[in-house]
Amino acid sequence: MARLVTENAGIVDVLFTEREQDYCLGKRRAHEHMAGRFAAKEAVLKAFGTGIGQRMRWTDVEIVPGRGGRPEVCLHGEVAAWAERRGLADVDVSVAHSAGIAVAQALAVWDEEAEDSRRGREHAGAFSSH
């Protein structure tokens, strides 16, 4: 992540919202926190089974600090619209980073009564190096 951000001007704006940038840049190991947030975004999209699909942006999945520092997921744009169509009831994420590796897991809970919901629960993880 450190190399990616250093070598590619503008990539931070592609990957992270302003709130995420403020959070990470306020930390001593900013790149480690960025890697954790990226892993969390990837885990959420894997739990949805979409990856980065048509018209979706990395900033559509925003990871923000919730109560007690626990990360929370805010969805925007095309990803939010997709999740609403499929009947997303809740999405939870956990992030850990240490010793050059960031790991995240996401749990998506679907409303089985939603008209076009095909899945009850899905679970996916992702990791990223920094």
């Binding site: 992540m1 990616l4 070598e7 590619n8 503008g10 990539i11 592609v14 990957l15 990226f38 990837e42 089974g49 990856g51 980065i52 699909g53 048509q54 018209r55 979706m56 942006r57 990395w58 095309e78 095909r118 990223s128």
Partner: protein, 133 residues
């Protein structure tokens, strides 16, 4: 930009981002399965291509290019197996795919794993052409 320059620029980006050799970054090598690229590596590759060619491609553009604007529920069936319409589209942008072999077997999430260095060069060529027109 000539096609030979485009494929060279894409190969150079792949080599730089993934740390593979020039031989490994052959036109028919798949970015994810053969060369081990992950989504964050694809971003690195796309930014490198933008720097060298001026052609800007975002990660979500890859899906859009592959699907040709066909909505998800038409590109694949309820089990997320690529539909006949989807296979027709794939023949245009990923001509190396054997539609007969993949018919009824190709899961939507596996399509990107078949995307090659040459496929990316073709996309850059197309985007570069449309940007300049």
């Amino acid at each position: 930009m000539a096609e030979s320059q485009t494929i060279s620029a894409v190969q150079e980006a792949v080599v730089g981002a993934l740390g593979v050799s020039e031989d490994e970054a052959a036109p028919d090598a798949t970015l994810m399965d053969d060369l081990g690229a992950e989504s964050i590596d694809l971003l690195d590759i796309l930014f490198r291509i933008e720097r060298s060619t001026g052609v800007k491609i975002q990660a979500s553009d890859l899906s859009e290019y592959i699907q040709g604007g066909i909505p998800d529920d038409e590109f694949s069936d309820e089990n997320e197996i690529i539909s006949e319409k989807g296979l027709e589209q794939l023949k245009k942008v990923m001509p190396q795919i054997d539609a007969d072999e993949q018919r009824g077997n190709l899961h939507a999430e596996n399509v990107i794993k078949l995307f090659t260095v040459q496929n990316l060069a073709d996309m850059v060529e197309q985007r570069g052409g449309s940007a300049g027109s």
